[in-house]
């Protein structure tokens, strides 16, 4: 028998070892999640800086803020490339998926810790190449790299950009591989598939897309690179090539990619709503299966980006039908989350504000998606600000808000500290208000006919553009505040407690921050997730009020 251990102050957790080597050579999924958090945050603000410059330029119809149309074209390209490939795609899966998934299923780490670390290094290499491009000339093809402009006419660093995207795609594939294999093989005894938190289901669906879709993107950008270097004619009509082939290959990945960006957001919302409504989620199986359905259907709709591209109108009709169908599982989720509020005992902490905001904004974004699936309407609004508004509603009003909500919800678990609730609520409101003022006018702009990627525009579009820029300034504040108060919170001691929200889920049964191996002993799961009781919550609340006032 060994002597009782002398308790050290503070207790050792996954953050304790402070050496650089322990961080750069870590296999711990929690540390890798934190490493990704730092990296994606940096890229978020890089992409945000580009957006700020764009919106400043677009306040006036003529080009006056930026040096030239070329500068504008490079800026919007980099905004898209950075935000999509270096922020949105890794954000929730590589930060929160990495951190939480093993704990949620009762495991001590991801299946492949070294591949996990490798995925971060690969991401960094791709990201550094992206920064290189930013400094040394930029790319001006748009994040969509359409041929033949990208393969034959652009004078910018297209090949470097193709290599950068190719590399960062591998990071995505490795993250996806890890998630899939971990979910299959490392669930603790008793953790059957239908006892998994919906966070895991959604991330599993995301991982399927990451693994199956990303290689096709790799091929697309490699072909563009080859075309530029060897001038072989795969996309050059003069040599028998077909520029539309690029669009098919590109969108075959890039449409499912948008679900890589939104399914993890669904994952987060499915965790937050039951916790703050204090009741079991409504329609667990439907939500779980709808995630898988979305992953599968997402591969069948890429042609809705190409209704006016010159593809056959019959093919257009098929993609239109399928696009309507893919909206249905998303609708199922929205209704189920709303129903989860019924007979709950609802608190409005910051994570809940973000989750509720998500539902509203995603509904708008998704329904405008139905308008885009409508062939004739898309003819009018394709390549206009209507599209820009639509995808920002999903990606910012949806994914970014879910990311922020997730950060607030799991911050005490990740760092052991609490964020300041007042500032959290304020930021959430600023983000929600600023976002709507920025992007709602853009629907109108698009319907009026203002095309996207325009450096100069017709004067009659100015009023709405000014409104949009004004909203962007509010939105920017809403994004900067959390950066400040999250960092400041790290100066506090690690006293948030293991379960400040009183949530269910295995991650809340362990310390904040967790120890290196997550659990101290074997894990046995014996019940369903989300075993909240609204009535019990009410009783506790009434008791608290009594105690408070006595």
């Amino acid at each position: 028998m060994s002597a009782p251990a002398i308790p050290s102050d503070p207790p050792a957790d996954y953050l304790t070892d402070h050496t650089v080597k322990s961080w750069l050579l870590t296999g711990d999924h929690k540390r890798i999640g934190v490493l990704f958090l730092i990296s994606v945050t940096i890229f978020f603000f890089v992409g945000g800086a580009a957006a700020t410059l764009l919106r400043l330029e677009l306040m006036t119809p003529k080009g006056d803020v930026l040096a030239s149309a070329d500068a504008f074209n490079r800026l919007f390209t980099m905004h898209g490339v950075v935000m999509i490939f270096f922020f949105l795609i890794p954000s929730i899966p590589a930060v929160l998926g990495n951190f939480l998934l093993p704990i949620m299923i009762g495991a001590r780490d991801m299946a492949f810790p070294r591949l996990n670390l490798l995925s971060w290094y690969i991401y960094l290499i791709g990201g550094l190449l992206g920064i290189w491009i930013l400094i040394f000339g930029g790319v001006d093809t748009g994040w969509t790299f359409y041929t033949p402009f990208s393969s034959m006419y652009s004078n910018t660093m297209v090949v470097t950009a193709a290599v950068s995207v190719f590399i960062v795609g591998f990071s995505s594939i490795l993250t996806g591989l890890n998630i899939i294999v971990t979910t299959h093989t490392l669930r603790a005894p008793g953790m059957t598939w239908f006892r998994l938190p919906l966070f895991v289901w959604s991330h599993y669906a995301t991982a399927l897309i990451m693994v199956l879709g990303t290689p096709v993107l790799a091929i697309s950008v490699v072909l563009v690179g080859l075309e530029r270097i060897f001038r072989v004619g795969v996309f050059d009509p003069a040599l028998g090539g077909d520029p539309i082939l690029f669009q098919h290959l590109f969108w075959f990945y890039s449409h499912p990619a948008v679900y890589i960006m939104v399914l993890p957001a669904f994952a987060v919302v499915s965790e937050i709503i039951p916790c703050f409504a204090r009741r079991p989620i409504f329609g667990y199986r439907f939500i779980a299966f709808s995630s898988i359905a979305i992953a599968i259907f997402s591969f069948l709709v890429w042609g809705h980006h190409m209704f006016v591209s010159g593809q056959s109108m019959y093919v257009g009709a098929i993609f239109s039908v399928l696009s309507f169908l893919v909206a249905i599982p998303s609708g199922i989720k929205v209704f189920n989350w709303t129903a989860t509020l019924y007979k709950g005992s609802i608190r409005f902490d910051t994570p809940m504000l973000y989750a509720l905001g998500f539902i509203g904004l995603f509904t708008i974004g998704g329904l405008t998606g139905l308008m885009l699936a409508s062939l004739a309407i898309d003819v009018h609004v394709h390549d206009t600000y209507f599209i820009v508004a639509h995808f920002h509603y999903i990606m910012v009003g949806g994914s970014v808000m879910a990311f922020l909500g997730a950060l607030h919800f799991w911050w005490p678990k990740i760092t052991g500290r609490m964020y300041p609730e007042f500032w959290g609520k304020l930021s959430a409101l600023l983000v929600f208000a600023g976002f709507n003022v920025t992007f709602l006018p853009q629907f109108l702009l698009g319907w009026l006919g203002m095309p996207r990627r325009y450096f100069e525009y017709r004067p009659e579009f100015q009023v709405l553009n000014v409104m949009s820029t004004a909203g962007a300034s509010i939105l920017a504040m809403g994004f900067l505040l959390p950066l400040v108060y999250f960092l400041l919170s790290l100066r506090q001691p690690r006293n948030a407690g293991s379960n400040p929200w009183g949530a269910t889920g295995l991650e809340w049964q362990i310390e904040s921050p967790p120890t290196s191996h997550n659990f101290h002993g074997p894990v046995l799961v014996t019940c369903e997730p989300y075993m909240y009781s609204p009535e019990e919550a009410e009783r506790e609340y009434a008791h608290e009020q009594l105690v408070h006032h006595s």
Binding site: I180, L212, V216, V234, L239
Partner: protein, 247 residues
């Protein structure tokens, strides 16, 4: 010792046969399953990777079947056939390596893995010879590409308009773009495979693996067989479009 089934105890291997268990796995079986499952899903990504290229091939061949047929006639059918046999044999030696490791016969495992790598290198050598012949005949796409005269004439005959001839000539070059690119990507995968197999053989020789390295070699075997199967698809698509050989 007979070479038929042999038990682990009889294999007389030195030192440890206990496979090291990583802290996050509950038992060796779980660890092994995870690795194999991971390799299967990775191969799924590779399938998608090659599928994109084969899709491009399918589309262009459907647009100009004659151009592709004529292009294919320039392939070295017998060299390709030899290569196919070499690759299939290498899969055999790889499978034997896996079996040997399961039986704990380390020396044999090393031998089979080296044989696999050698056969793979042989494949690449033949491929290099083919490439050099094709480059010499101006069939490498780019500035030096020339459509051979008899093929240009044949395409001119079946083209109704000058624009169609341009398309057909262009697709003739695209056939070679796809040939070099797809077989190049395949060869790249082979190079990676050979390097890893050799590294694993060396590690095996130095008793680096905690157990018999069975899981790792099995996973590598899956990868090797996959690269082999890709070739089995590529060979007919690129080489065997028209075996009659007539113009």
């Amino acid at each position: 010792m007979s070479s038929s089934s042999i038990t682990l105890e009889e294999a007389a291997v030195p030192a440890r046969t206990e496979t090291l268990l990583s802290h996050h796995f509950d038992d060796v079986e779980q660890q092994s399953n995870a690795s194999i499952l991971g390799m299967w899903f990775f191969l799924a990504t590779e399938v998608m990777f090659f599928s994109g290229l084969i899709t491009a091939y399918t589309i262009y061949r459907a647009l100009s079947p004659e151009a592709f047929r004529l292009g294919s006639l320039h392939m070295h059918v017998w060299l390709g056939f030899f290569n196919t046999l070499v690759l299939l044999t290498s899969s055999l030696t790889m499978a034997l390596a896996v079996r040997s490791s399961q039986l704990g016969r380390r020396d044999r495992t090393v031998w089979y893995m080296v044989a696999t790598a050698v056969l793979g290198a042989g494949f690449l050598g033949v491929k290099a010879i083919e490439y050099s012949m094709e480059i010499e005949h101006n069939l490498f796409p780019g500035v030096n590409f020339q459509v051979p005269a008899e093929d240009a004439a044949a395409l001119a005959e079946i083209s109704a308009t000058p624009e169609e001839l341009q398309q057909n000539l262009g697709h003739f070059q695209i056939m070679f773009v796809l040939y070099f690119f797809i077989t190049g990507v395949h060869a790249f995968h082979m190079i990676i495979g050979i390097v890893i197999v050799l590294i694993m053989a060396a590690l095996m020789k130095r008793n680096w693996f905690s157990g018999n390295g069975t899981t790792q070699i099995e996973a590598m075997g899956l990868y090797w067989h996959f690269v082999d199967i890709v070739w089995v698809f590529l060979y007919p698509l690129l080489y065997l479009i028209d075996l009659s050989g007539g113009h």
